[in-house]
């Protein structure tokens, strides 16, 4: 299989940086919301929305589109940034995040915002929904794929493993999921709160095709996505090793930035850091 080109990788990295900036601005304007988990998955979501997924912002319900389910719904700012920069809605809406009357609800709401496939926010439920969509697409003979993003704390939910069984049982090879393995959840390190390892072996044991990658290595993400498409008879899980708060030195690996928005001063510093890193 052809490896992703260097120019594509450079473009995507630039896009990921844009997403991170929008996430930070959005959260600062809202003064609440989930910073760490939005930043950790920014490279994955960039690869999906700006490279891999077939979708049409002008026709969000296009029948043959690929789907994305944000099972870890608290990373809503990340999804909103991806949708806004794709052109699903005006960028100016982003500053209304979490405000009364805004379509950008605290957690994604499919009734208020185009491009959201289904409302999420209660952890552990997205993969089941992704499977249902995948089964429906197969019944219709459509080749569309279904992507789903889970948190590593989220996989402590029992329903995730019900869905893991179902996807393998029904051979849903049009499902490609990610675990954003940033090692942190709300109360601390995942493995201290509730031991989740060995993640890769667990998914393999449940009958999935598994890739173990660096979730900030754009080339690795794209290559894994391409390879997943060639796997027949099995769903794919991409275990993405990430850093919570990735991109902003003073947020990285800090458990308290799970659910804390940047202050205006932090925003200034953070945007500067992102700009300087690119040079």
């Amino acid at each position: 299989m052809a490896k992703v080109s260097q120019t594509t990788v450079i473009e995507l990295k630039e896009k990921a940086k844009e997403l991170r900036k929008e996430i930070l601005k959005m959260l600062t304007a809202a003064q609440s919301g989930h910073t760490g988990g939005s930043l950790s998955a920014a490279d994955i979501v960039t690869a999906l929305y700006f490279h891999k997924m077939r979708h049409n912002p002008k026709d969000p319900k296009w029948r043959e589109r690929d789907r994305f389910i944000l099972s870890k719904g608290h990373a809503a700012p990340l999804l909103y940034a991806a949708l806004a920069l794709s052109g699903y809605f005006s960028k100016s809406l982003m500053k209304t995040l979490r405000k009364l009357g805004s379509p950008l609800q605290g957690h994604p709401c499919s009734k208020t915002l185009p491009g959201i496939e289904i409302s999420t926010g209660s952890l552990g439920q997205g993969l089941s929904i992704a499977n249902g969509i995948a089964a429906g697409l197969k019944l219709d003979g459509l080749g569309s794929r279904v992507y789903c993003l889970l948190g590593d704390g989220e996989i402590q939910e029992g329903q995730v493993w019900e869905a893991a069984m179902t996807a393998a049982h029904y051979k849903l090879d049009n499902v490609c999921a990610f675990v954003d393995n940033n090692g942190l959840q709300i109360d601390g390190h995942c493995c201290e709160v509730m031991y989740i390892e060995p993640i890769v072996k667990k998914w393999e044991a449940f009958g999935w095709n598994v890739f173990d990658i660096n979730g900030h290595d754009m080339a690795a993400i794209v290559n894994a996505l391409n390879q997943a498409e060639t796997v027949k008879g099995k769903p794919t899980m991409i275990v993405a090793r990430t850093v919570k708060g990735k991109g902003i030195s003073f947020f990285e690996g800090k458990v308290q930035y799970h659910g804390m928005a940047p202050t205006p001063e932090e925003l200034k510093k953070a945007l500067k850091e992102l700009d300087e890193n690119g040079k």
């Binding site: 289904i118 409302s119 929904i129 969509i133 019900e162 179902t166």
Partner: protein
Amino acid sequence: MANKAVATRDAYGEALLELGKRRLDIVVLDADLSGSTKTGKFGKVFPDRFFNIGVAEQDMIGMASGLSLTGKLPFASTFAVFETGRAWEQIRQTVCYSNLNVKLVATHSGITVGEDGASHQAVEDIALMRVLPNMTVIVPSDGYETTQVINAIADEYFGPVYVRLGRSKVPSVMPERYRFKIGKAHVFSMGKDANIIAAGIMVSMALEAAEILKKNGIDAGVINMSTIKPLDTKTLLKAAKSCRVLVTAEEHSIIGGLGSAVSEFLSEHYPVPVVKIGIRDEFGCSGSSEELLKFYGLTPDKIVKTIRKALK
């Protein structure tokens, strides 16, 4: 009467199969109870459109939701206690919040489950479903009405519906000319002395009770309130205004069910006492279905006594 005594779950199995022949968008999900819920009939004929999810009710609701997002019309079935209890939050977060066209048809509701006992007898499922925005709640009274309900929720209504069915055979009560409409109660008769607002298996008992009362010179009307949400408030108001004693009868806790729905409405719009017949804030237990109905006071006789006492 339109047909003989059948369990509403049997009528469901037949109706679903016929619906499946007629509509290719119908998909059916079950959680390892397809023999009991009767969805297995559909599964045998349409294996490609049937998903047994195993003992995983939460995942079943998620799968059903996903299927509905691709334009399929999913029917998801298991026992009422597992459907509404184990998967309540999935129903709330996904099916109702996003107003998905998912039909939840649960069997083995109430105490007439019988010998399996309290763990399997849902007496709170109506309450759990009724409280959810966007949810419609229907409790058919017999097999004939069940068939109509299944077709109506598929053909005439887009959105989440909870249908509550039973395990045991129930007498046929609905007249041949009856046509089910969501939110429309069926008035057998309006009484001057009392009116019994009933649902499910209690409709046939209410009719029996009214017969007995009539012989004793008491005019009791019977109303089948098969849609519990949205409630047919017009008919309810008429029933409340036309009589001296209003009684509700349900095979469900008197907390949160039909009796509560009736009281909630009347307390705001026409405050009259509502006498409630149902399970009184307790769990069920093992026994035969007939024994349990007597034990919990869900009988025509109990309805008769309750009305007599209230009229004094």
